[in-house]
């Protein structure tokens, strides 16, 4: 079994093999897309997911069960017999389809193999699976929603061939189920039992009823294989069980139908056959055609169209070589409606690259993402139609019929009928192109062999006249099924061997022998069967051998028989002839012909007559009747009658001859009518197909029409816009206060704005008058010259012109350009610039004032600069005398700009050593990484204050410094000021204090623990012993009836109290819970203790706090919390307290709060110290790095928060 996967397939493979048992008895071949240059680790990865051995195939190997084989990089893998082999790719990278290649070889070597397509991009596998499916294999696809890359699974599902679509792990289960459940039907119908054959028939009847397609005439081995596959897939082992399932599940019938009609085909499937066709047949076709002619071809069983398009491609390629190009028309038909839809779409996965050469892809396809679409030219040449060659009238006058791998599904008698149809549909000399395992040999009268190995045949011309279309339909229509036809089915023959059937046979024989002679004929009057004694009524005339009963019967009977037959077939009931005299060996014999039609569909009372029985009744009594006639005749005058008889006889002979001629004429015209009818049927069929195509193109036209309507609407909108634009222009001109004048090339007035009237004496009647005729109020003598100048040079002219009343105008003369860029005149505008002129004057005055101001400001600036340099001086001096070591360096590379004396002292370097060098060059003690981190932080935050750093001086002396960094602009340079002080001593002291405090806390706790142990181990044990002795004493005194002067019961009670006190004391001193790790647990325990001993409800909130503390911190915090809770009991006058833990980054806040009476923090704090020692506790906490904050308000309660650092790791 083969598995194909690509991008994202690893995960799918892992879950597949995880779910797969190691003993399935199958071999697994994994094909993936691997990078050619990298070694693949796939085998190792898969090995950890299965117990089966995993091998990467590097040379030819024999495939074994329960092994996994993996493809190596940069190789393709093929399967032959039971060997796996690897080979180089023939294709360049990017065009390789290893999954397709492998699936194809798998299908031809192992027809019942399974193919699985998992996650991957691209469409590899989509072509190969067709081969697997066609050979009878199983096809499983990973569910696209589970797949990381769904394009490969989707391409596989789009073929419509997938049997199972499930997530990878469930695919494994399904596969196991499938292989464990192999029904093992025999592959030959003869090996089936009678019951099984009946069941098969019933299964086919179900499919027939549900889908309307009858497969009972299809080859039984093929059918059996498909049924077996369906059974296996659905988990049935017996035919009966599957039949039951089929009855209840309607979709299963359709699935079965699709399985039988696997429409699998590729482009150029069997390349050599197509090559032969294109060399031997196609050129001849073209030679025989003229420009007006059409080359017609018919592809039967075209499935999804590849074969039809292949043929079309070959035609077009041939046409390209010819001068005269005939029209090309290819009919392509298939039963499956869905396939036809796909074929019409003409869209194929890019995996067809494997079948179609790049030149052809370029010429006949257009690329659409992952797919190729056939070109319009190719698509238009092919007409797809849903057509059943066994049921619908055939197309006619074809030059080529290509029918590949359809006949293999049909039984032999049906094949012969189909060949008849082919011969009918081909024009004489037309070619028939069959699949590899089909043959038209043995039909010498119809076909001539052109190429034996590639199954190309040529139709022989019709011998006499055009043959009939074989009766249609060849398959039984649903409504016409009857017992008669069922008995013709091969599976039922066995029934006649039963004993009652044998009796029936004997009876029939007896009837034939002793009953009247009879002949069984069909609807064409052809003889089907002759009874034993009927031979003497027949007579073989000269000419070709015929089975036509009318021609064969004795001439005397011909006329009567024709009449009787006609009546019988027409009226569908028995017909009788008049008695006819027949001479047997010279003895006349009266015979009556009886024709009894046999009806089809008797139960419905209608339907056509298919057969008839002609019975020859020889009636002995008729001899008497003849005597009567003879006796009557004797009464007539003998002489008179003799002449009369002679005349009548002559008349009869003449009439007979006439009748004979009429009959012959009738027959021949009947033949012609039949032929014409058939022709019409075929033409009708073509029209029907063409109509279907037209329907499709009509839809396209409709959508184009809709598009046009949209365009039209858009145009309308634009028109509206234009007319609105025109209105706007009108309004603009009117609203514009700027006088505007439009002149044509002769300077006549075309259009002007109303305000023009102020400048020129224009009136509406002046339209088309030259402007030179009008006077104006401008001091503008050059007006006309300028205008002519503009028209000549096409350069605009601008002038500032004064009017008579002192106004100033900016006169602009511009050429008037049309949309076609032609010059049709002038546009002259007169912009009133009187105000502008005034403004210009004002501006000049303003400029003078500004200059004065600038002079004042410059003086001020000089002053400021002087003060600034003093400040800089001051800074410099402060910087250098500052006792804190400080440096200024460039931010980007750390080069020192300036350092002070203290810095030089700290480093032990001179100024010259430092300036313009980096700390790295000088090996100053700061880790470059820390420096980079600090620089980044400073850039972001601007300043870092009081950062504690541990450094090591060049002398090896460790130092702790407290440093501050500031980012600033120092004379245009992005600089960093660093100041630090040496706090090594301080830090050391702090550490020591911390150690002392820690030791103190631990020692204190150790002492508490020791006392607690003494209490428990020593004192308490002694009291136990005393108490026990006392109880023995009491017991024995009681027994002896003695009494004591001491109250022993009270003594016992005192001892019990003493035990309780010591117990509580030891627990208080050293709570056992403290021996654990956690602080929160200890505080929870404490809460319980407080409730038991002091009736204080303590709720502890410690959700999500898992911090670990230093031992001393933990002990001290615990004791502090206990102290705080005691305080609540003693002072707050409430019975409720809350302890809250809050986890921060590196510390935990523990807050003890109550809702008691509270106090004024400041006032009471001094008092507190004396009373509770809590502030002492605070000091000690502080020594261990903790902090204690007290917050209290009268009548609102008290909150005390301990900030405890978590253990540093």
């Amino acid at each position: 079994m083969g598995i194909g996967a690509s991008a994202g397939g690893l995960k799918a493979l892992q879950s597949f093999f995880d779910a797969l048992p190691a003993d399935t008895g199958m071999a697994y071949v994994v094909i993936t897309h691997l990078h050619p240059a990298y070694e693949s680790h796939l085998p190792e990865i898969l090995q950890s997911h299965t117990r089966m051995p995993v091998t990467q195939v590097i040379r030819q190997v024999d495939v074994e069960r329960d092994h996994v084989y993996v493809i190596p990089p940069n190789r393709r893998m093929v399967m032959a017999d039971s060997k796996l082999d690897v080979a180089e790719f023939n294709e360049p990278r990017g065009h390789r389809t290893p999954i397709d290649l492998f699936f194809r070889s798998l299908a031809s070597s192992h027809p019942d193999a399974a193919a699985i397509v998992l996650s991957g991009s691209g469409t590899d596998g989509a072509v190969g699976i067709k081969a697997v499916k066609e050979s009878g294999g199983l096809l499983m696809v990973q569910h696209p929603e589970e797949a990381e890359y769904d394009s490969m699974p989707r391409a596989a599902i789009a073929t419509g061939l997938a049997d199972v679509v499930l997530p990878a792990a469930q695919l494994a289960e399904k596969l196991v189920h499938y292989t464990r459940n192999q029904p093992q039907l025999p592959h030959n119908e003869n090996e089936l039992s009678t019951e099984e054959m009946e069941t098969v028939q019933r299964i086919l009847a179900q499919v027939h009823a549900r889908t309307g397609h009858d497969f009972s005439q299809y080859k039984s081995s093929t059918i059996l294989r498909r049924i077996e596959r369906r059974m296996q897939l659905n988990g049935f082992t017996t035919l009966e069980a599957y039949l039951g399932y089929l009855r209840l599940n309607i979709p299963e019938a359709t699935a079965m139908f699709n399985d039988i009609l696997i429409g699998v085909t590729n482009f150029f499937r069997d390349v050599d056959a197509w090559q032969t066709l294109s060399e031997k047949v196609i050129p001849k076709l073209f030679e025989a055609k003229d420009i007006g002619n059409t080359i017609r071809a018919w592809t039967i069983g075209c499935a999804t169209g590849e074969e039809a398009y292949t043929l079309a491609i070959l035609f077009f390629e041939q046409a390209a070589k010819m001068d005269i190009r005939p029209k090309i028309q290819i009919f392509a038909s298939d039963l499956d409606e869905n396939s036809i839809l796909l074929a019409r779409e003409g869209l194929y996965p890019s995996a067809i690259e494997a079948d179609v050469s790049p030149e052809r892809l370029e010429r006949f396809f257009t690329r659409e993402d992952d797919h190729y679409r056939v070109t319009r030219e190719l698509r238009d040449a092919v007409l797809f139609t849903n057509h059943n060659v066994l049921r619908d009238p055939p197309f006619s006058r074809q030059d080529v019929i290509s029918c590949r791998n359809l006949l293999i599904y049909l039984q032999r008698p049906l094949q012969d009928n189909v060949f008849n149809i082919f011969h009918y549909a081909l024009r004489p000399g037309g070619y028939l192109f069959l699949g590899n395992s089909e043959s038209a040999e043995g039909l010498h009268e119809m076909f001539k062999v052109i190429d034996k190995s590639y199954r190309i045949y040529q139709a022989k011309p019709w011998t006499t006249q055009r043959p009939h279309v074989p009766s249609i339909p060849l398959t039984i229509r649903r409504t016409e099924r009857s017992g008669h036809h069922a008995s013709e089915l091969p599976y039922n023959i066995a029934q006649y061997t039963d004993e009652p059937a044998a009796l029936d046979e004997k009876h029939r024989k007896a009837i034939e022998t002793y009953g009247p002679p009879s002949i069984l004929i069909d609807e064409n009057y052809a003889i089907l069967h002759i009874s034993e004694t009927a031979g003497r009524y027949l007579f073989q005339p000269k000419g070709p051998i015929t089975s036509d009963v009318i021609k064969l019967v004795r001439p005397e009977l011909q006329l009567e028989l024709r009449t009787a037959l006609f009546q019988a077939f027409e009226k569908k009931k028995a017909a009788f002839s008049k008695p006819v005299s027949v001479q047997f060996n010279g003895h006349p014999q009266q015979v009556i012909l009886s024709v009894r039609p046999r009806m089809e569909s008797l139960e419905q009372g209608r339907g056509s007559v298919k057969q008839a029985l002609v019975i020859f009744l020889e009636d002995e009594f008729d001899e008497q009747a003849e005597h009567v006639i003879a006796a009557e005749a004797t009464e007539v005058d003998e002489r008179h009658s003799n002449t009369l008889v002679a005349r009548l006889e002559g008349e009869i002979v003449r009439l007979r001859e006439q009748l004979q001629i009429t009959i012959e004429e009738y027959e021949s015209s009947n033949e012609e009518m039949k032929a014409a009818n058939e022709e019409l049927q075929s033409i009708n069929e073509e029209y029907r197909s063409a109509t279907e195509e037209l329907e499709t193109s009509k839809e396209e036209l409709q959508s184009i029409n809709e598009e046009l309507q949209t365009v039209n609407n858009e145009m309308k909108g634009k028109l509206d816009e234009i007319s609105r634009g025109k209105d706007e222009l009108q309004n603009l001109l009117g609203a514009m206060e700027i006088p505007t004048l439009f002149l044509d090339k002769e300077l006549t007035i075309q259009r002007y704005t109303p305000s023009m009237q102020e400048l020129f004496n224009i009136r509406p009647v002046d339209h088309n008058r030259p402007i030179t005729h009008l006077t104006h109020r401008l001091l503008y003598k050059e007006f006309t010259e300028d205008a002519e100048q503009v028209i000549r040079s096409l350069m605009p002219v601008e002038r500032e012109v004064q009017a008579e009343h002192g106004q100033w105008y900016m006169v602009r003369q511009r050429p008037y350009r049309t949309a076609e860029n032609r010059i049709e005149g002038l546009v002259i505008t007169f912009v009133d610039i009187t105000k502008l002129k005034a403004a210009e004057q004002a501006q000049r005055e303003m400029a003078a004032k500004l200059e004065e101001r600038v002079r004042i400001r410059t003086r001020e600036l000089d002053d400021t600069n002087r003060r600034l340099s003093q400040a800089r001086d001051l800074f410099s001096r402060l910087f250098h005398v500052n006792p804190i070591p400080t440096s200024i360096s460039r931010l980007e590379d750390g080069t020192f700009i300036d350092v002070n004396e203290a810095y030089l002292d700290f480093c032990g370097l001179t100024r010259q050593d430092i300036i313009d060098h980096t700390s790295e060059e000088l090996k100053l003690p700061l880790d470059p990484e820390i420096r980079t981190g600090l620089v980044t932080r400073v850039q972001k935050e601007g300043v870092i204050r009081n950062l504690q750093l541990d450094i090591i001086l060049p002398t090896g002396e460790p130092k702790t410094i407290l440093t501050s960094l500031q980012n600033l602009n120092f004379g245009g340079i992005d600089a960093l000021i660093v100041a630090f002080s040496d706090i090594t001593e301080r830090v050391r002291t702090e550490r020591e204090v911390r150690t002392v405090a820690s030791n103190m806390t631990s020692a204190e706790q150790a002492e508490r623990t020791r006392i607690a142990r003494i209490l428990h181990d020593d004192l308490q044990q002694n009291i136990f012993a005393v108490k026990m002795q006392l109880s023995i004493l009491r017991d024995s005194m009681e027994k002896n009836g003695e009494t004591s002067r001491v109250d022993l019961a009270q003594l016992d009670k005192w001892l019990a109290d003493a035990i309780a006190t010591t117990r509580q004391l030891s627990v208080d001193l050293s709570p056992p819970i403290l021996q654990g790790e956690g602080l929160t647990e200890a505080v929870i325990w404490l809460g319980v203790q407080m409730k038991e001993q002091y009736d204080l409800d303590v709720s502890v909130h410690a959700n999500g706090v898992h911090a670990v503390f230093d031992e001393d911190v933990r002990l001290l915090v615990f004791q502090t919390v206990r102290e705080l809770l005691f305080n609540v009991v003693k002072h707050s006058e409430t019975t409720k307290a809350t302890v809250t833990f809050e986890q921060l980054d590196d510390e935990v806040n523990i807050t003890v709060s109550d809702g008691g009476k509270g106090f004024e923090t400041e006032k009471v704090l001094e008092n507190w110290k004396a009373r509770h020692g809590l502030l002492r506790m605070r000091d000690r906490l502080f020594l261990l790095g903790c902090n204690l904050k007290i917050q209290s308000t009268p009548n609102e309660g008290t909150r005390v928060t301990i900030e405890a650092p978590v253990k540093s790791l």
Binding site: N1022, K1027, M1028, Q1029, A1056
Partner: protein, 133 residues
């Protein structure tokens, strides 16, 4: 007469307990060991019907001893005798395989516990029963 192994490091309490048990005719404290190690030595040499074990012993704890006994002598029932009232110890003892846990100041409980355990029951001192056990 049942033969009893007493493991108790406090001499005074041990002798009081031996006397208490000696007052009934049912028991005989055959051996007294002050440490778990000594107790194991006795177990090698002699067969006992019952072991009374203190929870805290100097080197190996009483609970450790019980879990060893439970493994090596599964038929020998153990009763813990302790001054500790913590539920924690009770749980650990029973988990280690002890059949009961009685307090040292509960004389009546010690005797009752022994009787219960010999009948195959589990016994814990009354005072401990309604703690979180």
């Amino acid at each position: 007469m049942l033969s009893v192994l007493l493991v108790e490091d406090h001499q005074k309490f041990a002798s009081a307990l031996i006397r208490l048990l000696g007052r009934t005719n049912d028991f005989n404290v055959t051996r007294h060991a002050a440490t778990a190690e000594l107790a194991l030595e006795h177990l090698l040499n002699q067969k006992f019907d019952l072991a009374l074990v203190d929870v805290f012993l100097p080197v190996m704890s009483g609970i450790g001893l019980v879990s060893l006994i439970h493994k090596e002598y599964p038929l020998l029932p153990c009763l813990m005798v302790s001054g500790h009232m913590l539920g924690h110890y009770v749980t650990k003892s029973l988990a280690a395989g002890a059949r009961g846990y009685v307090l040292k100041d509960d004389s009546a409980g010690i005797l009752e516990g022994i009787q219960h355990i010999m009948k195959g029951k589990i016994y814990v001192s009354k005072e401990l029963r309604y703690n979180d056990q």
